[in-house]
Symmetry: C2
Subunit: 93 residues, 2 copies
Amino acid sequence: MCEYGLMIFSVHVEVRLRPGIADPQGSTIERAMPTLGFSGVSGVRVGKSIRFEIDAADEAAARSEAEDLCNRFLTNPVIEDAIVELEPVGVAS
Amino acid sequence: MCEYGLMIFSVHVEVRLRPGIADPQGSTIERAMPTLGFSGVSGVRVGKSIRFEIDAADEAAARSEAEDLCNRFLTNPVIEDAIVELEPVGVAS
């Protein structure tokens, strides 16, 4: 996969529960806050953050592969959506 | 907690394993990639993404409370670190 001219992209995927989907983990954190001495915290939602590097010919190819990966394996599209951010970090040797 | 003049800040906390800490979940995803038809993916690291809103007098107070919360409850500082991002989204009624 180290063909001449491939670039390396750093990818950050944030997987979030869709609005309206119950988030028991977030609710538990939120309910605990006042007891722990933190007031004024609301709307706690917990998701996943996945970072990786991907070799691709250009940014469009990298984004396409990352989004495909998200839709097929990293998220459950019925209840989750994903935000994909990527930036070039170098050239594959 | 809705005193006059409080602002609402949207907070995003990304909790990551510190460099060098083993990430079995990330390794498993990475090993599965070639079989699933994705080549060129490396360095997969899985963390948590926590979003919430916080009422505070100003951005410094909001950041201070969010970072305190991270250090005390949302992360295990021995093996994890956190990136805190916040932005004002309105005024508490």
